[in-house]
């Protein structure tokens, strides 16, 4: 059932030029947004936990390109990239990071707890594993209402050792729920490598005993991600039930901002960045295939930077929530 496939993409796949441009821009926005978030965290504008997505951009950008606006998305706490890729505004996300009224949760959620009903983004969940039954429940509702939609349920390589993940796999297959489980395997659950945490390190095989098909994908290659994503989404939408995609990816930064990252070598990180950066790959392709000139790419860079700069400004100008907000939104 499980396949260790699509680590190399078929060369024949045609990707439309507008799509490549969008991949580049969307990934760059996440990269620049996260770099800026890291910087203003250092300035004390963001508190608490802040988990950056730098390095993993191809996963969410590739996967989101395979679904439509009515499909649902849910993830764990490394969620800023997912929100941007769902079309949520950089301003609202950044203002939530700074705990301001203009944030998506009015400043009451923070980095790990943001939602957008409008964009069908269901969080942002801080307890590792919790988003998997929740995402399965979204798919349950899609099937119950017969909407024809799918849920993308993202999780990390740390999540896959939580029991509720398997409770969900079981019921999703039992009830043929339209859910694609996207395991973002960035090799480290906080400071513990997959090898030290998982008896079965081929995570795409984790659904085997429930008959959930799985596939391993080069998560640093946005084209490979999108191709595998399309197949999995089609599978789920056609009523065949859940599908697991293991995305082999890598985070360049620490687990959170206060992670000295002693569990891996600097050489390892640099090698990954140099050899397989997802944005560089697309950039090269855009130049090689003469979709863009260097100057045009610079213009995109400038546009993206301007969006991020505006977000940072908004996140500082937006007031802190009114004290009355302490007691609102509990029960109605």
């Amino acid at each position: 059932m499980a396949r260790k496939a699509s680590t190399t993409r078929r060369k024949t796949t045609k990707v439309d030029k507008d799509q490549i441009k969008k991949y580049y821009r969307d990934m760059l926005l996440i990269r620049r947004f996260e770099e800026k978030a890291g910087q203003i965290y250092g300035m004390g504008l963001i508190g608490g936990f802040c988990h950056l997505y730098i390095g993993q951009e191809a996963v969410v950008v590739g996967m989101q390109s395979t679904i439509s606006a009515t499909d649902a998305v849910i993830t764990s706490y490394r969620d800023h990239g997912h929100m941007l890729a769902c079309g949520m505004e950089a301003k609202g996300v950044m203002a939530e990071l700074t705990g301001r009224e203009g944030g998506y949760s009015k400043g009451k959620g923070g980095s790990m707890h943001m939602f957008s009903k409008e964009k069908n983004f269901y969080g942002g969940h801080g307890i590792v594993g919790a988003c998997v039954p929740l995402g399965t429940g979204l798919a349950f509702s899609q099937k119950y209402k017969n909407t024809g939609d799918v849920t993308l349920c993202y999780m990390g390589d740390g999540t896959v050792n939580q029991g509720q993940v398997y409770e969900s796999f079981n019921m999703a297959e039992l009830w043929s729920l339209p859910v694609v489980y996207v395991i973002e395997n960035n090799e480290y659950a906080m400071g513990t490598s997959v090898k030290r945490a998982s008896a079965q390190t081929e995570l795409f095989r984790r659904g085997e005993s429930f008959n959930v098909p799985g596939e391993q994908v080069d998560g640093m290659d946005v084209f490979a991600v999108a191709e595998a994503g399309r197949k999995a989404v089609e599978w789920a939408k056609s009523g065949k039930g859940p599908y697991i995609l293991e995305m082999k990816t890598y985070r360049y930064r620490g687990h959170s901002m206060s992670d000295p990252a002693k569990y891996r070598s600097k050489e390892e990180v640099n090698k990954k960045r140099a050899e397989s950066d997802p944005i560089e790959r697309v950039r090269e392709k855009l130049l090689n295939e003469k979709v863009y000139t260097e100057d045009q790419l610079k213009e995109i860079d400038r546009d993206v930077k301007a969006i991020v700069a505006e977000a940072v400004q908004f996140a500082q100008d937006s007031p802190e929530p009114h004290p009355d907000e302490l007691y609102t939104d509990i029960v109605i």
Partner: protein, 460 residues
């Protein structure tokens, strides 16, 4: 204008650190992501990465400098096209001001919690119009009827849990529902509480109205993370954008001779959590009316039933749409000498004790809380102001129990009215024993309530 590179904070608590060494020199070109310097804190050595690209114009603080305050400019970056002359006349700015976090003066005007206190006792007599036909119904049937009525009127309502469909319910509460509504809406789950509770919450996020049955609330401990962290907190964490209209229901507390792991009262556990509504009915009418309200409520509701009450019959009104409001207690028996406050199974002991006490000339007023959160203190306090004495009755453990909360609030809000200390009757502070005689000793009984009332009324 050259860009200032600031000393970063690498954790929420870091205020200063050592700038250990520079990895770049003046004149070097850098791109975002390049390592500029290493800083040391008491915990670790960490790297400072460039965010903007450009040329290092000037290093303001040398390597190997201790105690560099967070947000101090440590270098200047020249952006593309910017001349070195831009550095002339640079003077360190005051740095970035951190946001003001002191609560402003208007904090004193914070609005009340959603359930407003009116100060008046609730009058439940209007719930059932005079002359309404009543029919003897068991609590079990009343609960089933409530679910069936709500499922008939709202397709979003479904019930899921272990043995709820084909087996017709482990305690037969869902009897007949599969036949009427089919397996799309009456769903047998595997034994997987954590998983199906989470699936229920996800479905509620997406607009359905799930009823999740736990075979008993003892098993819901496996799912409590989803109940508390996912269902109860999401409205708040989303700034009011999301909601989880879901009912978690099933038998709570001790049954009979089922041992410690199957005999626990969770009323105070869930009542502790902002964002949850907690209900624990005693009578069949309240079970029906409250469950219908719970299913329609936009908040997560924990609905605590009791296996010992399932078979007991009470009068239930014959009405098209009988509901009981959440958050309102009921005066189950009127009296002037002492107030007994209880809920669920505790009401059986309380009412029986009140009858016996009446024979001795002590008229107890018995208040059935019905909802544990929000707690209808108005009704309890109005009674205590009249009787000046209060006994609380519950099957749960004493420490941090419902009685502890009632006692505290009565002390805070009606201290001057009290003629005796508020006294608790609770389950004993032990895991539930199996042996028949020990189990009997562990649970509260009618005599315990009588003794407590006599102690607060100073009778012997």
């Amino acid at each position: 204008m050259p860009t200032e590179i600031l000393m970063p904070a690498l954790s929420p608590t870091m205020t200063e650190g050592k700038l250990a060494r520079w990895m770049v020199s003046e004149g070097d070109t850098v791109a975002s992501g390049d390592v500029l310097a290493e800083i040391e804190t008491d915990k670790a050595t960490m790297e400072v990465e460039a965010v903007d690209e450009g040329t290092i114009g000037r290093i303001l603080i040398d390597g190997d400098t201790d105690n560099v305050a967070v947000n101090t400019p440590i270098a200047l970056l020249l952006e593309e096209g910017e001349e070195a002359s831009a550095l002339d006349g640079y003077s360190a700015s005051a740095g970035v001001s951190t946001p003001v976090t002191d609560a402003p003066a208007e904090a004193a005007t914070i609005s009340q919690v959603v359930i407003e206190s009116t100060g008046d006792a609730y009058d439940a007599s209007g719930e059932i119009p005079a002359g309404t036909e009543m029919v003897k119904t068991s609590v079990r049937e009343a609960l089933r009827d409530a679910m069936a009525e709500e499922m008939r009127s709202d397709d979003r309502v479904f019930v899921m849990g272990e043995e709820v469909a084909e087996y017709q319910g482990a305690y037969k509460v869902t009897q007949g529902l599969l036949d009427e509504f089919g397996n799309r809406r009456v769903i047998d789950t595997p034994i997987t509480e954590h998983g199906f509770a989470g699936i229920g919450v996800g479905a509620a996020f997406h607009g359905l109205r799930p009823i999740v049955e736990f075979m008993t609330f003892n098993f819901a401990m496996q799912a409590i993370d989803q109940i508390v962290n996912s269902a109860a907190k999401t409205r708040y964490m989303s700034g009011g954008q999301m909601e989880s209209p879901i009912v978690f229901r099933g038998p709570n507390g001790a049954a009979s001779r089922v041992g410690a792991q199957h005999s626990q009262c969770y009323a105070s556990w869930y009542a502790h959590v902002p964002g949850l509504i907690v209900v624990a009915p005693h009578t069949a009418a309240d079970a029906k009316g409250l469950l219908k309200s719970a299913i329609r409520n936009p908040n997560p509701v924990v609905f605590l039933e009791n296996e010992m009450l399932y078979g007991q019959t009470f009068d239930v009104p014959v009405m098209d749409d009988f509901t009981v409001p959440l958050g309102k207690a009921k005066v189950a028996r009127k009296g002037d000498d002492v107030t007994i406050v209880s809920f669920g199974m505790g009401m059986r002991y309380s009412l029986e004790a009140a009858e016996k006490l009446a024979e001795e000339g002590i008229n107890a007023e018995v208040i059935d809380l019905r909802t544990i959160r929000p707690l209808d203190m108005d009704t309890a306090l109005a009674s205590v102001r009249k009787t000046n004495r209060c006994v609380t009755v519950e099957e749960g453990w004493p420490q941090h129990g419902i009685g502890a909360e009632l006692g505290t609030q009565i002390m805070e809000k009606a201290f001057d009215y009290l003629d005796a200390p508020v006294t608790r009757v609770t389950g004993k502070d032990v895991p539930m024993p199996y042996a028949a005689n020990l189990e009997k000793l562990a649970l509260p009984n009618v005599q315990d309530v009588i003794d407590a009332v006599k102690s607060v009324t100073y009778r012997s």
